[in-house]
């Protein structure tokens, strides 16, 4: 029965910028992921991937990979990336430009801001169902915590905790601020 399963398995899936994105904001950019749900062959490989495009000054909110390491390879343009380890130390704060790769270990926090009109990257992930947790934005880890717990955690008042939970209306991609847009 091998010919019915492996021999004819679908082994290709387009994730380039022409594909229908999974995350899209016309002002900020787009992200397309491919996991073993989209391409079952990835289950054998235990790998997945993500393709992203960020517009100038748009930002991918701080987040971390829950269950995978990732290798971010810049395809086009350049972006400023910051990566933080478990001790709260900045382990990378620099530019990633086309042709270069940055390894981001599992659970390390990372954020990116595009410095060119179109920063494009592909991120290879070492889990076939790689998932991320966002540290900012709607439905992020901060908004899942009760307001009083946040206030006690950060030694702030409830009004500040409310702002922290609700000020950002974006989930993944933050468009550039109005002033940055005008300057561009």
């Amino acid at each position: 029965g091998l010919e019915e399963t492996i021999c004819t398995a679908r082994l290709r899936q387009n994730i380039g910028s022409s594909s229908s994105p999974d995350i899209y904001n016309p002002e900020a950019g787009r992200i397309k992921t491919v996991t073993s749900f989209d391409l079952p062959a990835l289950r054998w490989l235990r790998l997945s991937a993500e393709h992203g495009t960020l517009h100038r000054n748009a930002m991918f909110v701080p987040h971390y990979n829950l269950n995978a390491n990732s290798a971010i390879y810049a395809l086009r343009g350049r972006a400023r990336l910051q990566v933080v380890n478990c001790n709260g130390n900045t382990v990378f704060d620099g530019e990633l430009e086309a042709g270069r790769v940055l390894i981001v270990p599992q659970n390390f926090a990372v954020a990116a801001k595009s410095m060119s009109d179109r920063f494009q990257y592909v991120s290879f992930k070492t889990n076939d169902n790689a998932a991320i947790a966002r540290l900012a934005g709607t439905q992020s880890t901060l908004s899942g915590v009760p307001m009083d717990v946040l206030a006690a955690t950060y030694n702030m008042d409830r009004n500040e905790a409310r702002q922290l939970k609700n000020n950002n209306l974006y989930k993944f991609l933050v468009p550039p601020r109005e002033s940055e847009r005008r300057a561009a």
């Binding site: 930002m59 909110v61 701080p62 971390y64 990979n65 829950l66 269950n67 995978a68 390491n69 910051q82 990566v83 933080v84 380890n85 478990c86 001790n87 709260g88 130390n89 900045t90 382990v91 704060d93 270990p105 599992q106 659970n107 926090a109 954020a111 801001k113 889990n127 998932a131 947790a133 966002r134 540290l135 900012a136 934005g137 439905q139 880890t141 901060l142 908004s143 899942g144 915590v145 009760p146 307001m147 009083d148 717990v149 006690a152 955690t153 950060y154 030694n155 702030m156 008042d157 409830r158 500040e160 409310r162 702002q163 922290l164 939970k165 000020n167 950002n168 209306l169 933050v174 601020r177």
Partner: protein, 314 residues
């Protein structure tokens, strides 16, 4: 485990060999570099939370099991992408609701009353909050943010095992805690440094020691966080632990207690402004196996399955 790691000729019963004191409790750890732990691919720690103390949110690089040796309280986990399903009702609903707010006292109440008075009451919503008590085992998936709070007089003692050998951990076998707040010492940091020194990387070890003690936000530049969170610099400073009084550690004392949405409990009694749960909730009661007579006439525990005639009807 690496080769020969489990070639053990003798086993020892071990006590924790490191202790970190915080404002609201202590965290003790066993050295994960010990051969026995390396062989098993696990790391252990024990956390003691005093009354009204909060273990600040953190996540780990491997799955965890936490056993509650003593005490009771609340814990929460934040599952990425899941909705905030615990919602505060509108003011009018609030009067009718049988919802119980925990530990409503002191400063916390005053703040809330002033918010209500000014007509800018904010309805909070968050992910599920659970009650724990002595004997409970809590399963914490890899990378899931976890916090816990002791609202009772008895100190909470929680023993936690991190399965660093799990396939879900794609880093090395060293346990790592990623704190979302504070400037506290990482409980497994000294062992990481030992390992680094053991490899002869002294320079890097020293650098790491100098920079130790931040949280996951403190490594980002302020402008990045201001943009990402759309909040002012003052809040970002709090987030990064730049406050003057930020020496409280992983466990902090909560003045005036915490208040969040929790469902009514079946049997509860008030004590000192807090609500103490005396029995498990209805869901747990329903799941509990029912006693049934076997053919031999002995009473035995069997779960009540769908379609079976059980002592309790649906």
């Amino acid at each position: 485990p690496q080769q020969n790691e489990c070639q053990l000729e003798q086993l020892n019963a071990l006590e924790p060999d490191n202790r970190i004191e915080s404002e609201g409790g202590i965290i003790e750890t066993w050295n994960p570099n010990n051969r026995q732990f390396r062989c098993a691919g696990v790391a252990l720690s024990r956390c003691t939370l005093q009354r009204n103390s909060l273990r600040r949110p953190f996540y780990s690089n491997a799955p965890q099991e936490i056993f509650i040796q003593q005490g009771s309280g609340y814990f929460g986990m934040v599952f990425p992408g899941c909705p905030e399903t615990f919602e505060e009702p509108q003011e009018s609903e609030q009067r009718e609701s049988r919802r119980i707010r925990e530990s409503v006292q002191g400063e916390s109440r005053r703040i809330r009353e002033s918010e209500q008075g000014e007509g800018r009451r904010f309805r909070d919503s968050h992910q599920k909050v659970n009650r724990f008590r002595e004997g409970d085992l809590i399963a914490v998936p890899t990378g899931t943010v976890f916090w816990m709070y002791n609202d009772q007089d008895t100190p909470v003692i929680a023993v936690s095992l991190i399965d660093t050998g799990s396939f879900q951990n794609q880093l090395d076998e060293m346990p790592r805690r990623f704190y979302l707040a504070g400037n506290q010492e990482q409980e497994f940091l000294q062992y990481q440094q030992q390992q680094v020194r053991g490899r002869g990387e002294q320079r890097r070890g020293r650098e790491q020691q100098e920079n130790e003690g931040g949280n996951i936000f403190s490594g980002f530049k302020r402008d990045f966080l201001e943009d990402a969170l759309n909040v002012n610099r003052h809040i970002v400073d709090r987030l990064q632990g730049r406050n003057e009084d930020e020496e409280k550690g992983a466990i902090v004392k909560v003045r005036g207690g915490l208040s969040f949405v929790t469902p009514p409990e079946r049997q509860s009694r008030h004590q000192g402004g807090s609500i103490i749960e005396e029995d498990e909730d209805e869901e747990d009661e329903w799941r509990r196996p029912h006693h049934q007579k076997s053919r031999r006439g002995e009473e035995e525990e069997r779960p009540c399955r769908r379609g079976q005639k059980c002592e309790r009807s649906n």
